[in-house]
Symmetry: C2
Subunit: 143 residues, 2 copies
DNA sequence: TAAGTATTGAAAATTTATCGCAAATAGCCC
DNA sequence: GGGCTATTTGCGATAAATTTTCAATACTTA
């Protein structure tokens, strides 16, 4: 569980940009923080999970919040399956990781690699880009 | 220019799976083979290019063909921009490469890295997955 | 060349995500 | 706490990308 962002830390970061902490945003972040490592949620997944918790948050707000948190660097947007995005906490080193995905059944395995992180920062630096995230996605077929 | 798949090689590979070589499929592959290195086409891009060449191929067929060629491993599907996919030839080593993408303006730089290819094949092997493609995508902001 | 099946084009449908707007509410000052 | 104001929400409408349906067409193979 990632405890980087307590509700008050989230509030501070939001308010610094003129945005507001709402119960919806707090609950959504909490769900990602309590999500077992290796799980990834789509907007629909998240919305269903909220309905299950009797948290009534509209699908529009789910989409808006996912986009906001990803742009703030709190969540990471992943392309693990066809047709929709998945999200997870954007964890810094040493929890930063990559994904091995089966293109047939979408089964996904996470793995860490400091050398990839090195390649990523070296390339960004070489072209003067400011690094935000680097993801190695391995498309493969599971046994 | 990639000459791995001549029309007859494409035909052989299609027929082996009970599929057929059509003029549409042949033309679409040719466009990718003649595309300058570093260019990436969306379905709409490709369709416009076909109209320019007075090749009358429906948008449905463009989508169907892109999906088919990608599943055959002939094309590579890339997530370089929000909202739509891009495609390029899936070139083996030593032309295999990765992408540094500006999330603000979508400017994309290609780079090669044999160490990433090594990480990719090692991970796939470790879990018994059959490797299809591995792509490092670096999200960053250009200067 | 004829039979049989895969493929195509065109339009409709589906899926994913965004938008407009009125009502609700967080942050702020008193 | 009570009001002020800009932000956020929920809802329905809308947009954009991709897929599907189906009748007509065209590959393959024998
Ligand atoms: Mn993950
Ligand atoms: Mn490329
Ligand atoms: Zn699988
Ligand atoms: Zn840029």
């Amino acid at each position: 569980m990632n405890t980087l962002y307590s509700p008050s830390a989230l509030k501070a970061e939001l308010n610094a940009k003129g945005w507001r902490l709402t119960p919806q945003r707090e609950v959504i972040l909490k769900i990602f923080q309590e999500l077992p490592q290796g799980n990834h949620l789509s907007a629909e997944d998240l919305h269903e999970q909220l309905v299950g918790l009797e948290q009534d948050i509209s699908l529009s707000t789910v989409y808006r919040t996912l986009k906001l948190l990803a742009r703030m660097g709190i969540l990471r947007q992943l392309e693990l399956a066809e047709g929709h995005k998945h999200y997870e906490l954007n964890q810094p080193y040493p929890n930063h990781h990559h994904h091995l995905v089966c293109v047939k059944c979408n089964k996904t395995i996470e793995f860490k690699s400091s050398s990839i992180l090195q390649v990523g920062s070296k390339q960004a630096q070489e072209y003067g880009y400011k690094l935000l995230d680097c993801q190695l996605t391995i498309h493969a077929i599971c046994p």
